[in-house]
Amino acid sequence: MARFSLRPIVAHAVLLSGAFLMIYPFFWMWRASTQAPGEIFGTLQDAPPMLASIADNYARALFDSPLPNFMLNGVIMTGGILLSQILTTVTCAYALAKFDFRGRRLIFAIVLVSLSVPAQATALPIFIVLAKFGMLDTYTGVMVPYLTSGFAIFLFHQFIRSFPDEILLAARLDGMSEVEIVIRIILPAMMPAIAAFSIFSITFHWNDLYWPMIVIRSIDLAPPTLGLLFFRGQEGGDSFGPLMACATLVTAPLILLFLAAQRRFVQGVTMTGVK
């Protein structure tokens, strides 16, 4: 018979209350998306069945609002940012980790310092530059400040530094150019690290409201977060059901992505430094 012990019970109680705090808003969002308009703020006498409300809310979210368009914008921006981030940071991290050149330490120090500069500090100068080049209210305008990432360079640098030098020498002896070494040897070996970083990057840029709000003005180019804001402004206060259905649809891809990549993600975060 298992011995009765208080510690696990207390620990679980604390963890459960923490989890509740995190999950409740999502739960509320989902529940609201399954209810008829009046039902959210009080019990209706003749509430329509739940399935009918779901059908109604989600149909309105998908077909009456530009939500699919928002999602597409989000995919283009997030995907473009991620792709260019991986391209720029893997090569940069490889050079910083495996080559010895003049100024290497200085450049790496600048990369580290850039981690501590908040995005808000650089927003105004970047905005002015974008305005001068006429890139406001474009996809490029949203993506430009994030084409590379100090965090990714740092993460990948740590990973590549622990990659055995002899394998690189063997590859050079076999006749691979440095670009091929990165593509054929380094990239496949660092998939876990890239997966981990992708989740960080996708989450951040999919959920980012601040920068799109500054750059984007036309509703056609809005990513989901900004789109929701427009949507709420247009619809007024009474259509919470469809709004919450939109919010659920916007959040769902991230949650699914995390569930799918969870193992790799944890691997990637814990792996740096081990070997």
Partner: protein, 438 residues
């Protein structure tokens, strides 16, 4: 021994002759060697290292290395860690630029060339297999790189071009033909992580072999394996060398490996080649005391010796042998443990108290206290038969009378360099010795 060694000898002699010409510059020497090579076989893959130096910032890692390696030779670079042997190998492979000097392979100066253009293959200490590729892919890469252009290597190229398909088919067949004698056929679809140490080593050898390189470099390829496997793979590597006839350059710090495998050993110390000769020669006639110390499974016996008028004495005990040509002074006398024999009758050089007796099956090791002749422990190795004879009527803990075998004494001067005198034992110098003994 590969057939190729035969025609490597002539250029060696020629190169020696030009080197003997003393104070020439590296450039002149290089052209002299090139001229000699032009006369030699066209498919010659001998290597000439001329005045090679390597400096990292202020520390000089290699000092004026000159070395000729014959076509098809198995040459071992032997030395303690930090002696520059791996650096020399890296310079040969082209991973690092040399500070000065040049490297010729055949009649081609390869020092400005990148690694891939040198027609060299290498087996690394950690094997350096591509971790995410199967054994087959690992062995295919070098051939892909040399036979397919960048565009032909792109994924999907095989679908579009029949030529690429033909080349790929050829490569696959070749990989399999190399894998077969190495016993890798069954492992071709595994990843390196699924292989044992010995199997990984074989894959590394296979990957290096597929390209049929002119020179095969090995950087301590057996040091990560256990003793039994090491022995087995040692034999396999020697077989491989004999079968292929390729020039092998093998780096190790294990003198047993070097002695067992090589045609010649270059012993390195402090960034210089101390001696380069056949294993037997290195063992029996080391040029430096440091070489004598480094080579040999059991440490060589060193005794401080005093030479006066050709007669040798160890801490006032006069030896049988005499060294007539030698200037008076203090020397180090070194003798291999198996060249010290128990003496019968009165012809002993000295007798020492026995400290320990070790029986290892095929031989008996005796450790004596050498304080009486002014040295540390003196080790003697005997065949068990002669030890049994010795023991009749005697026990360990008693004294043993020892005689230095003829021609076995190596004399080194104060700087550690061997003094080349042939020790003789002429009877007419008996009087001298008697005089000294008084």
């Amino acid at each position: 021994m590969a057939a190729g060694v035969g025609h490597g000898v002539a250029p060696l002699a020629a190169a020696r002759r030009t080197f003997v010409g003393a104070d020439r510059t590296g450039r002149q020497r290089r052209s002299a060697v090139l001229a000699n090579k032009a006369e030699a076989d066209m498919a010659d893959h001998s290597i000439d290292i001329i005045d090679l130096e390597k400096r990292f910032d202020r520390t000089q890692v290699l000092k004026r290395i000159n070395l000729h390696i014959r076509d098809g030779e198995f040459l071992t670079l032997l030395g303690p860690s930090g002696c520059g042997k791996s650096t020399l190998l890296r310079l040969l492979a082209g991973f690092e630029p040399c500070t000065s000097g040049c490297i010729l392979i055949g009649d081609r100066d390869v020092s400005p060339l990148p690694p891939k253009a040198r027609n060299i293959a290498m087996v690394f200490q950690s094997y350096a297999l591509y971790p995410h590729m199967s054994v087959r892919a690992n062995m295919t890469v070098p051939l892909e790189m040399s036979r397919l252009s960048f565009r032909q290597r792109l994924p999907g190229a095989a679908l579009l071009s029949a030529k690429v398909r033909a080349i790929r088919k050829e490569i696959t067949a070749e990989v399999e033909s190399v894998a077969k004698p190495l016993g890798l056929e069954a492992l071709l679809d595994r990843k390196p992580a699924q292989l044992s140490g010995g199997q990984r080593q074989r894959v590394a050898v296979g990957r290096a072999m597929v390209r049929h390189p002119a020179v095969f470099l090995m950087d301590e390829p057996l040091s990560n394996l256990d003793a039994k496997l090491r022995q087995q793979l040692r034999e396999e590597i020697v077989d491989l060398h004999r079968r292929t006839g390729i020039t092998f350059i093998y780096v190790t710090h294990d003198q047993t490996e070097a002695m067992a495998m090589s045609d010649r050993i270059a012993v390195m110390e402090g960034g210089e080649i101390r001696q380069c000769a056949a294993p037997q020669e290195i063992y029996d006639r080391p040029d430096y005391l440091s070489v004598a110390r480094f080579v040999g499974a059991t440490a060589i016996n060193e005794m401080p010796a005093l030479v006066r008028r050709g007669s040798v004495s160890l801490n006032r005990q006069v030896l049988e042998m005499t060294l007539p040509g030698l200037a008076d002074g203090e020397y180090q006398l070194a003798v291999r443990p198996e060249r010290l024999h128990p003496a019968e009758g009165g012809n002993a050089d000295f007798s020492l108290p026995v400290e320990q007796v070790e029986f290892t099956g095929n031989e008996v090791g005796i450790r004596c206290n050498g304080a009486e002749i002014g040295s540390g422990a003196i080790r003697v190795q005997l065949r068990p038969e002669s030890f049994r004879q010795l023991r009749q009527g005697r026990h360990a803990g008693e004294r043993i009378a020892l005689r230095i075998a003829e021609d076995a004494a190596l004399i080194f001067d104060a700087s550690g360099r061997r003094v080349s005198v042939l020790p003789t034992q002429p009877a007419q110098l008996q009087e001298d010795r008697l005089e000294l003994a008084v």
